[in-house]
C-alpha cells in the first residue's frame, strides 16, 4: 500500500493505493488518525485500492468514530469497485 496526502487549508485528502489488509492496516491507521486527531477535516480517496479486508474496514470505522469525538469531518470521496463491494457487505453487519 502507498499513500499521498493533499493539503487544502484545513482539509487533508488522503489517497490510498494498492491492497489494504492486516499487514498494512497499521500503516493506513497511522496515516489517517493523526490528521483527525489534529482537527483536520479528512477526505479519503480509495479509488485506487484494489483489495480491502476487515482490517481496512476497521480503520474506516475508527477514523469515523475519532472524527465524531473531535467534532471534525471524515468522509470517503471516491471508492473503487472492490472496496464498494466489501463496504456493502460490511453495512449488513453495521
Amino acid at each position: 500500500m502507498t499513500y499521498k496526502v493533499e493539503e487544502i487549508e484545513n482539509k487533508r485528502i488522503v489517497h490510498l493505493d494498492g491492497e489494504i489488509d492486516m499487514d498494512v492496516a497499521d500503516k493506513s491507521r497511522s496515516t489517517i488518525l493523526p490528521l483527525i486527531e489534529a482537527g483536520h477535516e479528512v477526505q479519503l480517496n480509495l479509488s485506487k485500492v484494489t483489495y480491502m479486508d476487515s482490517s481496512g474496514i476497521s480503520v474506516l470505522i475508527e477514523s469515523k468514530k475519532l472524527s465524531e469525538e473531535k467534532k471534525t469531518k471524515f468522509e470517503l470521496i471516491e471508492v473503487s469497485k472492490p472496496v464498494e463491494k466489501v463496504l456493502a457487505m460490511a453495512r449488513k453487519f453495521l
Partner: protein
C-alpha cells in the same frame, strides 16, 4: 460462472503464519480460482473469505505471536460443483462455540472477518485436527 463446475481440482500450499503471508495466500487463491474459471465477483468474495480465515489464524490461533517457522496450510478442492477450502494450523485449539462476530459497538477485524466468511460461504466447520495439526477449519460453497 463458466465451466467451473466441470473441473475437479485440488491444490494446497503452506504459508508462514504471519501477516506478511496474507498477500501470498490471496495470490495462491486467485491462481487456483483462475484455473477453475470462477467468475470475477465470486472469485473476489472467495478470496476475501479465505484471507479472513487465514487472518484469524494469525490473529487468534497464534495471537500474532507465531514461531518464525510455524506454518499454516490452505487446501482448495473442487469436486462435483462443491468448493471446499481447508485450513490447517498448530495454534491454540479453537473453541467453535466462541467463534462468532461481535456487535456494532465492538467491531474489530476478527469479528467483521468472521461475519464476511459466514456471508460468503455456505458452511463453516471446525473438524478434528489430525496430527500434526491442531485446528482444521473447512469452508464450503456449492458452485
Amino acid at each position: 460462472m463458466g465451466e467451473t463446475a466441470q473441473l475437479n481440482h485440488t491444490e494446497k500450499k503452506a504459508f508462514l503464519v504471519n501477516s506478511s503471508s496474507l498477500k501470498d495466500v490471496r495470490i495462491f487463491c486467485r491462481d487456483v480460482f483462475e484455473k477453475l474459471h470462477i467468475e470475477q465477483d465470486l472469485k473476489d468474495e472467495l478470496v476475501l473469505a479465505i484471507a479472513e480465515a487465514a487472518q484469524n489464524i494469525v490473529k487468534h490461533a497464534f495471537k500474532n505471536n507465531a514461531n518464525a517457522n510455524e506454518l499454516m496450510v490452505v487446501q482448495i478442492s473442487c469436486e462435483n460443483k462443491k468448493l471446499e477450502i481447508a485450513f490447517y494450523d498448530r495454534g491454540t485449539p479453537v473453541d467453535p462455540k466462541k467463534v462468532k462476530h461481535r456487535e456494532i459497538d465492538n467491531v474489530k477485524p476478527g469479528g467483521l472477518g468472521t461475519f464476511f466468511i459466514q456471508e460468503i460461504m455456505d458452511a463453516v466447520e471446525f473438524r478434528d485436527g489430525n496430527k500434526p495439526w491442531i485446528n482444521h477449519l473447512v469452508l464450503t460453497k456449492q458452485l
